[in-house]
């Protein structure tokens, strides 16, 4: 059966300079986009042009390039607003990464609203970024954490959701697992949270880069994601929040930009979104992120999802065909229920050894706990090998992965 894609992947690959490099004299096969994506020339050029012709500090200068820098930064905010369909730019807060976005919620909203005994519901498939900040609040405040369990095929087990949410103040879950690839039923979750009187927080790190996102349709109160996983630069993340909640929240980091007035005896906060953007922002990176969402929008998020759906089907089938019982791919087997992230166990090889041997074939996959140690424990493993795809990957990349796995199997055969 032939699989088709709506993307002109050859043209797309030409936009990503790194994809034309070699490793050990072999063209690189980059299958680690769940960790970080490659960057198109359009993004690199936007940042370079900024530094070469505009660079000035923002929001305070009257002179021409300072005004232009401010306009460019705020234009990028508007691009991100449109990309996630936020109702206002006041709701789009730039952070340094999704981890900071999540910590901002916990430390600002959480400290202001949660007391000893209050319940926060997480899931067993969360990334450390959506666990450790809550652990810190447990230590500080004595809140209680509850955990949504998983089904054997790596989906959220929602059979007791209402009981878990009973009396809860917060539900915080990932839209897509960075280990299992599972796409969670976000709307169902946020509806259940609202019905229970809890706010809901969505970790969009793995979903926003790969599927069209409408924060209003998601029904959540907060959504966090990182720029570097969606073709943008490092050093910039996003927190979207409902204006009403953001307005009521105390500040997180204090300093310049976030104030209206400062006196010896106190200060007053600036308006949203700047209230949460203390200090000189990541100006070039925010502009780069704006270029990234323009790039992705130009290609079309639905087309990207369709392409990755095709690759998911191809990957699951190819690996099963070639390795049968020697490979076990974690997570749901239905491509409709998952994104293009494939954690697998292969023979009795340790993930570190798999990745090492794949590297000799220029195939880049991640090996480790993927910042999801509680999930690893639940799965009964210390680590997995993980391949993940994005708009620039092809079925040939998957074939290269399979070929490299075959030699890994041979190398360690004993």
């Amino acid at each position: 059966m032939a699989l088709t894609t709506p993307l002109d992947v050859d043209a797309i690959r030409a936009d990503f300079p790194l994809l034309s490099r070699t490793v050990h004299d072999t063209p690189i096969v980059y299958l680690d986009s769940a960790a970080t994506s490659q960057k198109p020339t359009a993004v690199l050029d936007a940042m370079d042009a900024y530094y070469r012709t505009v660079n000035a500090n923002v929001h305070r200068g009257v002179y021409f390039i300072a005004e232009q820098a401010t306009n460019d930064l705020e234009a990028a905010r508007e691009k991100v607003r449109r990309f996630i369909n936020a109702s206002s730019v006041s709701e789009v807060i730039f952070t340094k990464n999704a981890t900071e976005s999540l910590n901002l919620i916990v430390q600002s909203w959480g400290r202001a609203n949660l007391a000893a005994g209050d319940v926060v519901v997480l899931s067993h498939m969360e990334h450390h970024a959506n666990i450790v900040p809550w652990h810190m609040l447990v230590a500080e405040r004595g809140i209680e954490l509850r955990w949504i369990p998983l089904t054997p095929d790596g989906r959220l087990d929602l059979s007791d959701l209402d009981a878990l949410l009973d009396g809860a103040k917060v539900l915080s879950v990932t839209a897509m697992s960075n280990v299992l690839g599972t796409l969670n039923p976000v709307r169902q979750l946020t509806d259940a949270a609202r019905a229970a009187g809890a706010i809901s927080i969505i970790d969009g790190c793995q979903s926003v880069p790969h599927t069209a996102t409408d924060v209003q349709a998601l029904g959540a109160d907060f959504v966090a994601f990182s720029g570097h996983k969606l073709c943008g630069p490092t050093g910039v993340g996003v927190l979207w929040g409902r204006e009403e909640l953001l307005t009521a929240m105390p500040p997180f980091i204090g300093g310049g930009e976030m104030i209206r007035d400062v006196r010896l005896d106190g200060f007053t906060c600036n308006d949203l979104p700047w209230k949460f953007e203390a200090g000189t922002p990541a100006i070039a990176e925010i502009i780069g992120l704006g270029a990234a969402v323009d790039y992705l929008t130009g290609i079309g998020m639905d087309a990207i999802r369709a392409h990755e759906h095709m690759l998911t089907e191809y990957t699951l089938r190819t690996l099963a065909d070639r390795f049968g019982p020697d490979i076990a791919i974690h997570g749901p087997s239905d491509p409709d229920l998952r994104g293009g992230v494939f954690s697998f166990a292969f023979k009795d090889l340790h993930p570190h050894d798999i990745s090492q041997i794949l590297d000799q074939h220029a195939v880049c996959v991640r090996a480790g706990h993927h910042c999801a140690k509680p999930l690893m424990k639940l799965m009964g493993v210390g680590a997995t090998a993980r391949a993940s795809v994005y708009l620039y990957n092809t079925t040939a990349d998957i074939d290269a992965l399979a070929d490299a796995l075959e030699s890994a199997g041979a190398f360690f055969a004993f």
Binding site: T70, N71, E74, R77, E78, R81, V89
Partner: protein, 156 residues
């Protein structure tokens, strides 16, 4: 490229040199409200007397700021004195509409065509050139935002 003459019209400089309604009113009975431009440090204080018919019977302006914020406050004080808060509301909307093309695009939002209230801006028209200098828009609107807040508070 916009030139200085677009920004610093003669009438603006006149209001800057000779600000109208500069000073204070006893408060109470007058209502006193402060406004800040967090970006540049400009501060304005508006003193308002409202009568029972919601008419601004007197107004005074204090604080410090640049030629644009000072002249805008001065022109505003002259334009609103003796008018009802409804009339002032229309004038405020008309003035901010004149400024808004850039104010909103600064904030990044799509520039929607705005239906102007049918109001004569008079001298205030001189500030139209400010929209070509987006950073200065907040200088021009500071007095108006502060007045609106003061009216809200006085009527609350």
């Amino acid at each position: 490229m916009p030139g200085l003459e677009d920004l610093y019209r003669e009438i603006i400089l006149d209001h800057y040199r000779n600000p109208r309604n500069r000073g204070e009113l006893d408060s109470p009975p007058a209502h006193r409200v402060e406004g800040f431009n967090p970006l540049c440090g400009d501060e304005i204080v508006v003193y308002l007397d409202l009568d029972d018919e919601r008419r601004i019977t007197d107004i005074r302006i204090g604080g410090q700021g640049c030629s644009i914020s000072q002249s805008s406050a001065s022109m505003m004080s002259a334009a609103v004195k003796g008018h009802t808060v409804e009339e002032v509301g229309d004038l405020t909307r008309a003035f901010k509409a004149m400024m808004s093309i850039h104010e909103s695009s600064l904030g990044g939002e799509a520039a929607e065509p705005v239906e102007l209230p049918d109001v004569k801006l008079g001298d205030l028209e001189a500030l139209r050139g400010v929209v070509k200098f987006p950073v200065r828009i907040k200088c021009a609107t500071l007095a108006w935002n502060t007045l609106a807040q003061g009216i809200d508070e006085a009527l609350a």
